[in-house]
């Protein structure tokens, strides 16, 4: 009897927590073939914070992001944005996918890529007007790519491409910024530029959620951290969660390698 009372209260708490969180995930299991990439994941992302998703290779970090954005279909579980189903809240999420997933030989220019971020605003046939163009150029300016406006996207370096992707996300003018490995394969200057933009967003009250693979920079860059290894190992403020024991639990025998060579846990 007491059991049902407790759960009735926890349902109420849960509902409230999810309503306030920009992104909350319940019992999410995603599976490619017959082994789960993530299993029964419960996570509530804190509003106005920068959160890193950290975990070993193949821990399901990208999968968690993709499932949160309904890019891959979950086997079980649900995702809510400010307590609402994703479909109604698309406009509030901006997304930077992994750089490797894109056809860089595609005939398109930097400015066109940034304008793609305004797709939901422009619709099918809406004209690109001066204000859209101004916003796009402004976004490029914020990532230091203004001068590359008319370059073909494939002619840029990896770091420059990543900045353009971030500019496209900025053009989405969202409340939540979801980034998949934003620092993978980029130069140090780009990493600095990107983190500065993300911190700006955070300071303006936006929420940032990024898959990250360099353990050494987690405390410097992020407020919260989600340690993932198929399941959630721990989640919360960096100071509480980013501990030796938790890392050991998440990485197991791979912790030493993860420390020495951050690239080895990318992906």
């Amino acid at each position: 009897m007491s059991l049902t009372l407790v759960s009735a209260k926890s349902v109420e708490d849960d509902r409230k927590a999810r309503f306030e969180s920009p992104l909350s995930v319940r019992g999410l299991t995603v599976s490619y073939g017959e082994s789960p990439a993530i299993f029964s994941v419960d996570v509530t992302v804190r509003a106005g914070a920068m959160t890193a998703i950290v975990g070993p290779n193949g821990a399901g970090k990208s999968t968690l992001l993709k499932a949160a954005l309904d890019v891959v279909k979950p086997l079980a579980g649900s995702v809510q944005i400010y307590g609402q189903p994703l479909a109604q809240m698309r406009d509030r999420i901006a997304y930077v996918p992994q750089r490797a997933s894109v056809d860089w030989d595609f005939p398109t220019r930097v400015i066109d890529v940034v304008l793609m971020g305004m797709y939901r605003q422009l619709g099918l046939l809406g004209r690109v007007r001066a204000r859209h163009r101004t916003l796009a150029l402004d976004c490029l300016d914020r990532v230091g790519m203004r001068d590359f406006e008319t370059r073909q996207i494939g002619q840029l370096s990896g770091g420059q491409q990543q900045r353009v992707f971030l500019a496209r996300a900025l053009a989405q003018q969202a409340d939540i910024y979801v980034l998949d490995e934003p620092f993978a394969g980029v130069d140090a200057a780009t990493e600095k530029a990107i983190i500065a933009v993300l911190q700006e967003l955070r300071d303006a009250g936006r929420t940032v959620l990024a898959v990250h693979h360099d353990l050494t920079t987690v405390p410097d860059y992020f407020d919260d951290v989600i340690l993932l290894n198929t399941q959630i190992v721990a989640a919360g403020p960096v100071a509480d969660v980013f501990t030796e024991d938790n890392l050991q639990a998440a990485y197991g025998g791979r912790l030493a390698t993860a420390r020495v060579d951050p690239e080895s846990v990318a992906g």
Binding site: K66, L69, D70, V71, A87, R90, I93, Y95, P97, Q98, S101, V102, D103, W104, D105, F106, P107, T108, R109, D112, V113, M116, Y119, R120, L122, L124, L125, Q152, G154, Q155, R168, Q172, V178
Partner: protein, 303 residues
């Protein structure tokens, strides 16, 4: 010259241009998405679709044949996708299995059934008969303004023009989703675009172009126009809008030059009869591609 040209050459040239452009437009996206051979597969499965439609309805009419071919194209694409996913078979191989089997089925059905009374055979399906689409009632350029004469235009011309309008409208309306889904599928899904439906839509529109073209020119020219003009155009520019414009230009050029060479070329070198216009249009499109591949300003990959 004028009267003869308007009656004998103008309709086939216009039909050829409509076919070429209607195929080249969606072809741009097929080539960019690495699905060039879907065009190949579609044009092969049009035959069984048409044969089945004929066997079911018993008449050779545009409506049922168009529907049958479109259904066959969808069946083929779904089957390819199913084999690829369920059997974890590479897309090219899955395609090879499906379109050869469907084409083989179509050929056997055709040979088995009594279609001798109607104009339906394998060779016609492969290379069509563009030259036969003449406008008997035309007496000269003035006929273009003569309502009575216009009514006797070969029916393929308005049909193909309509197909071109449908294809162009699709590409125009869905330009943004098509571009986004082709360039960065992950991001497209992230902003809520149904990329699967967009891909299927592209295939269906390609099928519409292929089916409408098929009757007039056969399937070989269809494959050539899906691939060659867009591929050549890709090497001329790094902007998608410009590429699509180039591809339409190349397609038109191939249709006109190909038709003229087929019809008049042999006469110039002293031979008496003409050669296959469809084959010549495909050949010219190949020459255009070769020229672009040898000296197009953007022929090489980045980096």
């Amino acid at each position: 010259m004028g009267a003869e040209f308007v009656a004998l050459s103008l309709p086939p040239i216009l039909i050829g241009i409509c076919v070429a452009v209607a195929c080249a437009l969606p072809g741009n996206f097929l080539v960019l998405r690495g699905q060039a051979l879907i065009g190949d597969a579609i044009s092969h499965v049009v035959l069984p679709g048409i044969v089945v439609a004929f066997l079911v309805t018993g008449v050779v009419a545009a409506g049922p044949m168009l529907a049958g071919a479109a259904i066959a194209a969808i069946v083929a694409v779904v089957a390819i996708e199913a084999i690829r996913r369920l059997g974890q078979i590479e897309a090219g191989a899955a395609m090879g299995v499906v379109f050869t089997a469907m084409f083989a089925g179509g050929v056997l059905l055709l040979e088995q059934s009594d279609t001798s009374s109607v104009h339906l055979d394998v060779e016609h399906a492969l290379f069509g008969n563009l030259e036969s689409l003449i406008w008997l009632d035309a007496t000269g350029w003035a006929s273009l303004f003569d309502v009575q004469a216009l009514a006797t235009l070969p029916v393929e011309l308005p049909r193909m023009a309509l197909a071109l309008i449908v294809v162009a409208a699709f590409v125009w309306i869905f330009w943004r989703p098509l571009t986004l889904a082709s360039f960065d599928e992950g991001f497209a899904q992230g902003v809520g675009l149904p990329t699967g439906a967009i891909g299927l839509g592209l295939v269906i529109v390609s099928a519409i172009a292929a089916v409408a073209a098929f009757d007039a020119v056969g399937s070989i020219i269809v494959i050539a126009m899906f691939i060659c003009p867009p591929a050549a155009a890709r090497m001329m520019t790094n902007r998608l809008t410009h590429q699509v414009a180039w591809s339409a230009g190349f397609a038109t050029l191939a249709a006109v030059i190909g038709y003229v060479l087929a019809g008049y070329g042999p006469l110039w070198i002293g031979a008496s009869a003409s050669v296959s216009a469809a084959g010549m249009i495909a050949t010219v499109s190949g020459l255009i591609l070769a020229a672009a591949a040898l000296c197009g300003p953007h022929r090489a990959r980045n980096g």
